[in-house]
Amino acid sequence: MTYPVPMARRNLFHERVRLAITLVGIAFSVVLILVQMGVYLGMMNNTSSIIDHTEADLWVTARNNSNFDFSLPFPEHRENTAKGVEDVLWVKKFILVWSLMKLDGGGSENVEIVGFDPETGIGGPWEMVAGDPRDVKYPKGVIVDESSFAKLGVAKVGDDREIYGSRVRVVGICRGAKRITTAPILFTSYKTAQELNPWMAGKTVFLLVKTAPGADVAEVQQRLRAVMNLEDVYTQADFAWATKKYWTLSTGIGLGFGFTILMAIFVGAVIVSQTIYSATIEHLREFGTLKALGAENRTVYGIILQQALLSGLMGYAIGLAINLVISDLYRRTGQLVVQPWQLFAADLVVTLATCVAASLISVRRAMQVDPMEVFRA
C-alpha cells in the first residue's frame, strides 16, 4: 500500500491506451528534437572543426569574409605586417581553396584543399589513420580524409590522383575533417596548395596568429586591426562562431532544423494537451468529489500537473532510448551526431515545460467545475 495515495500515477496507469498515446506523442517529440539537434550540432561541429583544431589565437581573413569555406585570398606579404605587431609570437599562412579532382572512373569532383605549414603541422589533420601530417612535404603529397572515400573512392597511401592536370600522391589518411559542404577534403602543404591552383600564387586565404605567452589576445587583436585595415581579424572562437552563424542563418539549414524542432514541440504539446484534457474531462466528477471531501484547489491542480510531469518524464525516457538507436544508425552512415549532456538537459526541460503548459488548459477546466456536479446521478 502506498500512502499518500498516488492519485496522479494511478489515474495515468488506469487508462493505459490513453497513456500509450500520450507517451508515443511525447517520445516522438523528444526523438525528433534530440536527433535533429544532434545532426544540426554535428553539422555545425563540422563547419568549425578545422578552426577548432588549429592552434591559433587569431585568424586574419580578407575583408568581409563571414565563413571558413568560402573565404577570398589576399596578398601573402601581409604576413610581414602581422609579424611586426607587438606580442605576436608567430604567423602562419594557411590556405583553403576549392579545386577539381579527376576521378578514376571518369568525371571529376569538387574538393576543398587545405594548405598548411608541414614543419609545424599547424592547421593540418589532427587524427591520422595512416601516415603522418609532415608527409605532405613529399612532392605533391596529399592527405585524404576518410569521409571523402564515398565520393573519391577508397584511397590508400601511395595512390596517385589528378588535380587540374597535376598528379598528386596520397601520403596519408586522416579522420574527422568532414565538411558541411559535403566536398571531399584534402590536406597538403601550403606550397603544394598554391602549385595545384596557379591563381593562388603569392596569395594566402588566412593568416594564423599566435600571441606571446601572457599577452592579452583582445589587445593583440586590436593592434592587428589597426595595421591590417584591408583584412578582418577574428579570435578563434569568433571565427568559429561566424562560420556556424553563416551556415545557420545564410543558408536554409537553420530554418529547416528550427522549423522541424518547433513542429516537434508543437505536435508533442498538442498530443499531451489533448490527452490530458480528455482525461480531465472524464475525471471532472472525481475532482469535484475531491473538493467536496475537502481538497483545496491546489490539490486538484497538483494532480493534473503531476500527471503531465509523469507523462513527460516517461515519454522522455522512451524518447531517449529510441534516440540512442536512431543516433547510432546515423553515425553508421558517417553522419556526425553531437549530443552533449546540455542538449539532453535542455530537451528534458522543454519536454516538461511543454507538458506543464499543455496541462494548464485542463487546470483551467478543472477550476470551472460546477460544485453541484458531485450530486448529479
Binding site: 500500500m1 500512502y3 499518500p4 495515495v5 492519485m7 494511478r10 489515474n11 496507469f13 488506469h14 487508462e15 466528477r285 472525481e286 469535484g288 468529489t289 475531491l290 473538493k291 467536496a292 471531501l293 475537502g294 481538497a295 483545496e296 490539490t299 460544485p371 453541484m372 458531485v374 450530486f375 448529479r376 446521478a377
Partner: protein, 226 residues
C-alpha cells in the same frame, strides 16, 4: 436536547440569469442535532440537493445563515471552507463518486490523506471503516469489480473513516436494490445512534421514514416539518 451541529436559518438560493430567476431554496430553516437522522424528502426539483449542498458548504446561500458546530460560517472566505468540510463533514453520493483508479482501501485513504492523517492511523482507520461496513474481504477491489451496494458501502466507509461528526447523504439508496437499500439505511441509522453522528439524508425512499428521527419535506424550495 442534543447539541445542534448544523443549522440553516432563513436560507435562500436564487439562480438569476439575464431573463430568468429561479428560486431553488426559499426561506429554509432547519437544525440537525448530534445523534439524529433527518430525512429530507420531496419531489424532484424541490430543492433538496441544493439545500444539501448548502449544508455541505459546497454552495453559498444567496442569503440567510448557515451554522456549523455552533459557528456562523455563512460569510467565510471560500478558501477556508475545504478545511471545515475535511474536519466536520462526510459525504455519501447517489452515484457513489468513487475514484475509479483506486482500490476500495485507497478510496477511503484519500479522505484521510486530505486530513493529513499519518500513515499508521490512516491505514487502521480505513481498514476499520471498511470492516464496519462489511467489506473486509473487498479492500483491494477496484470500483469496477464491486456491486452497487458494495460501492455505496465504500462511500459510507469513506465518510466514516474521517470521524466526521456530520454525514450528508444524497439519495444513498437510489441506485440500489431494495434489500441492499434497506441495509444501507440501517447502517446510517446505526451510525447516528451508536456513534452520535448527525446524519442528513436526501431521499425519495419512503422506507427511510421508519428509520429516521425527523423528516423534512420540501416543495418548491420551501421546507416543511413533517
Amino acid at each position: 436536547m442534543n447539541t445542534i451541529r448544523l443549522a440553516v436559518d432563513g436560507v435562500n438560493k436564487i439562480y438569476a440569469g439575464q431573463a430568468t430567476r429561479v428560486v431553488a431554496v426559499e426561506d429554509a430553516s432547519a437544525a440537525f442535532a448530534e445523534g439524529s437522522v433527518t430525512a429530507i424528502m420531496g419531489p424532484s426539483g424541490s430543492g433538496k440537493t441544493t439545500l444539501l449542498s448548502i449544508l455541505g458548504l459546497i454552495l453559498k446561500p444567496s442569503n440567510g445563515r448557515v451554522t456549523l458546530m455552533g459557528r456562523d460560517v455563512t460569510d467565510l472566505d471560500e478558501a477556508r471552507l475545504p478545511e471545515l468540510r475535511r474536519q466536520h463533514i462526510g459525504f455519501i453520493f447517489q452515484s457513489f463518486n468513487l475514484f475509479s483508479a483506486l482500490s476500495a482501501l485507497e478510496n477511503v485513504l484519500v479522505a484521510l490523506q486530505l486530513k493529513k492523517v499519518a500513515r499508521p492511523e490512516a491505514e487502521a482507520a480505513a481498514r476499520s471503516a471498511l470492516s464496519r461496513v462489511g467489506l473486509e474481504q473487498r479492500m483491494r477491489f477496484y470500483p469496477r469489480d464491486l456491486s452497487g451496494g458494495e460501492k455505496q458501502r465504500v462511500s459510507i466507509a469513506r465518510a466514516l473513516a474521517t470521524n466526521a461528526p456530520i454525514i450528508l447523504a444524497d439519495e444513498p439508496t437510489a441506485n440500489l436494490d431494495s434489500h441492499t437499500g434497506l441495509a444501507i439505511i440501517d447502517l446510517l441509522a446505526e451510525l447516528a445512534r451508536e456513534q452520535g453522528r448527525t446524519v442528513v439524508v436526501v431521499t425519495h425512499d419512503t422506507r427511510m421514514q421508519e428509520h429516521v428521527d425527523h423528516t423534512l419535506r420540501m416543495e418548491d424550495g420551501r421546507v416543511y416539518e413533517n
